[in-house]
């Protein structure tokens, strides 16, 4: 039996409105055959975690370019866990200095993509690492 399509959510936490990357990725995910939900800008971590559960997504892709990732990304992971949805894969992108990577991985972010990452490198990581949740 064919597996169902991946459901992915592209989310923009925080007050940052730089959404070029998020919108380009949402299109790339759609073209890669995923079902895509894009939250739009200015979501709180709480709104993102709740929406991810309500929409029953397999993956959340976070995008922030304001420098607030060290607070916002771990907070989304924490809230998903608190709501019993730690099996949702969370990845992140944006302007993230190398030295922040480990902290974000420790907080539950599974992969980080920074400027220069190709769309293909992101979708192929997802294809290899994420499958539709049971």
């Amino acid at each position: 039996m064919a597996k169902r399509r991946l459901r992915v959510m592209v989310a923009k936490p925080g007050l940052d409105g730089h959404d070029r990357g998020a919108r380009v990725l949402a299109r790339a995910f759609r073209d890669a055959g995923y079902e895509v939900i894009y939250t739009g800008c200015h979501q709180t971590p709480e709104q993102i975690a709740s929406a991810a559960i309500q929409e029953d997504v397999d993956l959340v892709g976070l995008s922030n370019l304001s420098g607030a990732h060290n607070y916002l990304y771990p907070e989304v992971c924490r809230l998903l866990k608190e709501k019993g949805a730690e099996d949702v894969t969370v990845i992140g992108g944006g302007i993230i200095p190398d030295k922040d990577f480990q902290k974000l991985y420790d907080a539950g972010i599974k992969a980080l993509f920074v400027p220069g990452a190709t769309l293909e490198s992101i979708t192929s990581w997802i294809d290899q690492n994420v499958s539709p949740r049971e």
Partner: protein
């Protein structure tokens, strides 16, 4: 433009040249089939007099300081005064930003430009839960006039012009500037500067959102009216293409959407305020991006001046030549910079800055090489500022006015940009104007299409970014990163709470009530904002009134 004899000569010589090209290309093919700008606009191998033969010298080119101003607003060009060297800056606390401002002024900068942090930009105070983690990260945090006075400490407000990149809370921050001038004894007719205050491009591109489009435009018309009557040297809007371009638009889209936004503001002030067009048009200013495609940018900037002059004279019946002028600031393209091999960014910025100067900009920000990674370091800012000084004082680029005029290529490209921009402008007219077009998602989706196409072209190697998809190296270049410590947030919250404790709570409520009544009655909010900030009302308290009366706008999340 040319005699028939010259055109006949050109045509016969062109045929000879074409035969020669054909012969050579058959032996050795061109490196690629199609040569395009960064916006994917196709460029011909050669331009000739035939490409611009239909132009009318007086109507289409003319002289600097004369209609249609394609050659610049000023008859004297840069000889009387270079463009304003205006570096956008803001970081951490008001105290820290004030220090950077003094550093820049001491380094020869000639105007100030303020970057605010995200809570300030969105109309939230630092102690709001939504502001968590953002304080001072992308600019300076301003909650009350107490912070503002610290920001402008030691700055001669009657002498230096200050630009503030602020949109939904523009009334509140401009009110702080006016109040600060008042407190320091500088009359309002002596202060000069710019508030960005362009909400249409926020809906289209940058997404600093607060209230729906119609009341947002109303607040902008309030500032235009207040400025016209009381602050005559202030630019109450900076109609911005910069962010449209950064969001991934083409050069033509940047040009068209920005100018159509400008027309929307003109129409709103005419309709809502009933001011004569010549009373306010001279204070409208613009802000463009200078991207990496050298000639496309020069053509875009030249076309922008000509389109605006034509629109103001012919569409809106402006009679005063100053109303026909398009005055604009330019910033080099942040999105053209790369995190990889960051020192290459100096070269990109210099090229883009030169294009802006040859396009006749009146004010310029040059990006620092590290801005792709973090807030710029003092050293990186100095290189960026020196880039402008070097173009002005070493290269000779400012010696003569509009040096590329009459180039077959540049004039032809300028014409193409103008024609394509008018096509968009007319299309938006047919939709019922820019607010209606935004509600349909039209400009947003056009930009999304262009941004996605560009990313695909980068991924496929069809367009080149050095260090990203060509000449890639593995070696990591370490550059010092500026970081804003989280203690800035704690200190700012303490500062805000101290102000809240010592202010007169009764006065605060009165000011907010008065502002609310003004909003409900449709009165101009500016006098109420100035009174409010003088009584230590916060940015968020003012914005909460707007949210309550006008409603909140949420990003529809189009892609």
């Amino acid at each position: 433009m040319f005699t028939q004899e010259l055109l006949d000569q050109s045509s016969s010589l062109r045929k000879k040249w074409e035969d020669e090209v054909k012969r050579i290309v058959e032996k050795r093919a061109d490196q690629k089939a199609k040569w395009t700008t960064v916006s994917d606009h196709e460029i011909k191998r050669l331009y000739t007099p035939e490409d611009i033969s239909h132009m009318d010298f007086e109507k289409d080119i003319s002289y600097p300081g004369q209609f249609p101003f394609i050659r610049g607003n000023q008859a004297t060009g840069f000889r009387g005064k270079y463009w304003t060297f205006r570096m956008f800056s803001g970081m951490g606390s008001a105290e820290e930003t004030n220090k950077r401002w003094h550093y820049l002024l001491n380094s020869g900068q000639t105007g100030l430009s303020t970057a605010f942090d995200f809570p300030t930009l969105m109309g939230y105070d630092t102690d709001d839960p939504k502001a968590r983690g953002e304080c001072g990260k992308c600019g300076v945090a301003i909650d009350t006039i107490d912070d503002f006075l610290q920001l402008v400490e030691g700055i001669p407000l009657g002498e230096i012009s200050t630009s503030m990149t602020i949109n939904p809370p523009a009334t509140a921050l401009w009110a702080m500037y006016c109040a600060a001038a008042d407190i320091k004894g500088v009359p309002l007719n002596k202060i000069s500067g710019t508030i960005q205050n362009d909400m249409l491009k926020e809906f289209i591109a940058q997404k600093t959102l607060m209230c729906p489009p119609d009341p947002s435009v109303k607040l902008i018309s309030d500032t235009v009216e207040f400025g016209t009557n009381h602050v005559p040297n202030w630019n109450t809007i900076s109609i911005s293409g910069y962010h449209i371009r950064e969001a991934g638009s083409t050069a033509v889209q940047e040009l068209a959407f920005t100018l159509r936004d400008g027309m929307e503001y003109v129409e709103d002030v005419l309709k809502r305020k009933g001011l004569p067009v010549d009373s306010f048009a001279g204070r409208l200013s613009f802000f463009f991006n200078s991207h990496i495609d050298f000639f496309e940018e020069i053509a875009k900037l030249r076309a922008a001046r000509r389109i605006w002059a034509r629109a103001m004279r012919d569409r809106y019946g402006a009679k005063d030549p100053r109303s026909w002028w398009m005055r604009f600031h330019t910033q080099t393209a942040g999105c053209s910079l790369t995190a990889q091999q960051p020192y290459n960014n100096v070269v990109r910025t210099a090229t883009e800055a030169l294009a802006a100067v040859l396009g006749g900009t009146q004010s310029l920000h040059t990006n620092s090489l590290d801005e792709v990674l973090c807030l710029p370091s003092e050293h990186a800012v100095q290189i960026a500022l020196r880039t402008q000084q070097l173009i002005a004082e070493e290269t000779g680029a400012a010696n003569t006015i509009d040096p590329l005029a009459g180039s077959y290529f540049v004039e032809a490209l300028t014409n193409e940009m103008e024609e394509l921009a008018w096509d968009y402008i007319h299309k938006i007219d047919e939709m019922g104007g820019m607010v209606a077009a935004i509600e349909r998602g039209f400009p947003q989706m056009e930009i999304s299409d262009a941004a996605y196409k560009f990313q695909r072209q980068i991924d496929d190697g069809e367009k080149i970014m050095i260090g990203v998809n060509k000449y890639v190296t593995d070696d990591k270049i370490e550059i010092p990163l500026v970081e804003i410590d989280d203690s800035v947030e704690t200190e700012q919250i303490a500062r805000l709470q101290a102000v809240k404790r010592k202010r007169d709570g009764r006065k605060v409520s009165e000011c907010l009530d008065d502002l609310k009544q003004a909003c409900k009655k449709g009165d101009n909010v500016m006098p109420y904002c100035i009174e409010a900030v003088k009584n230590y009302v916060t940015v968020q308290e003012i914005c909460d009134v707007y949210r309550e009366v006008y409603g909140e706008y949420r990003d529809p999340g189009l892609y």
